[in-house]
Symmetry: C2
């Protein structure tokens, strides 16, 4: 991504999630393993949501896809899967919401397809209208960095479900394997019921 | 956690996931927001799994709870939710597996309750036998740092499900909201079917 960083020279003023473009791209690569277009676009989404809600508000997050976007929230906000402040919905919608964790009001930001008409590379990438091998990652990333918020829309929302920390179930010892498990699974843990993901 | 770091003086030799204890605890706090006992224990689990599988093997991960443990994998390995190399199962089992992403063989590590008999604070914390307000976080963390692998068990496994990148569904435009969604949800997206998490 050496070439991409040259854009920093052209857009010296750009700040995303409180970072210069260089640091923004470095943070993505270090956590995610590579500079994914979805994550760069996701950075602009988080940036906008943070600006709308205000940095002084303690915000929780919902992301509506498990592809790429959860990492934008995990890199650029305090919300992670493990601390429970980020919920991930496997809906394949390129959208996220940051909301006040007490008042439950916040902002949903999404990739607005109508607005991608002026940015055909973004449209073709997201809607998979062009095979991956024919997509230049470099050109796509440049289009995302040029489009920024102009391919996104936002709306004020009130969160009505999925908020709060997910409570642990009632923890007991599985009578078969002897490991701790949540009794909501029944008399045995899921693995001992034959629904595990491994063989020994 | 200033006091805890004093243990570094007592255990100067300890290295966890390639880090000194100081850096290990700092990395946890920076990503997760606080020094959670589950994440410190999780660091020892990742450390053991990495040693068994070898650092030269490209490993994917499965974690069997959504509480704390996913962050240990995200901090100390290249696997994240967003890049698809980490799968999180909401089973409330304190266990994780690192496995070769091509051959699918690897190691599962879990908190072994039998082995916590010598570490009553760990048992009481995990099994919630003592109310949270009566638990000294400091004392619990000291016990975890003293126990390290001795409360864990490991087993070689072959992963038979849940491996590979989760494929995106067939992406089309929802006829109601106009957003892109996966057609596996039906003729409309889940939100337009009335199953969303927010009101406008």
């Amino acid at each position: 991504m050496q070439q991409l960083k040259k854009i920093d020279k052209v857009l010296p003023e750009i700040m995303i999630c409180g970072r210069s473009l260089d640091i923004f791209l470095d943070d993505i690569e270090r956590f995610h393993g590579f500079t994914s277009p979805g994550l760069v676009l996701g950075g602009f989404m988080v940036d906008w949501a943070q600006e709308l809600i205000g940095l002084d508000v303690e915000a929780d997050a919902v992301v509506e896809t498990c592809h790429c976007l959860p990492d934008a929230v995990q890199i650029f906000t305090p919300c992670t899967i493990g601390n429970g402040w980020l919920k991930v919905l496997d809906w394949d919608k390129f959208a996220l919401t940051l909301y006040d964790k007490r008042k439950l009001n916040g902002y949903r930001i999404w990739l607005d397809l109508k607005k991608t008409l002026l940015f055909p590379k973004i449209y073709n990438w997201y809607m998979r209208r062009v095979p991956k091998k024919n997509l230049s990652l470099e050109a796509l990333l440049e289009e995302i960095l040029s489009a920024r918020r102009s391919v996104l829309s936002c709306r004020a929302v009130q969160v009505t479900r999925m908020y709060g920390r997910k409570k642990k179930g009632n923890i007991e010892v599985c009578s078969t394997c002897g490991e701790a498990y949540s009794t909501s699974q029944g008399d045995q843990c899921i693995t001992c019921q034959g629904e595990g993901y491994y063989s020994i």
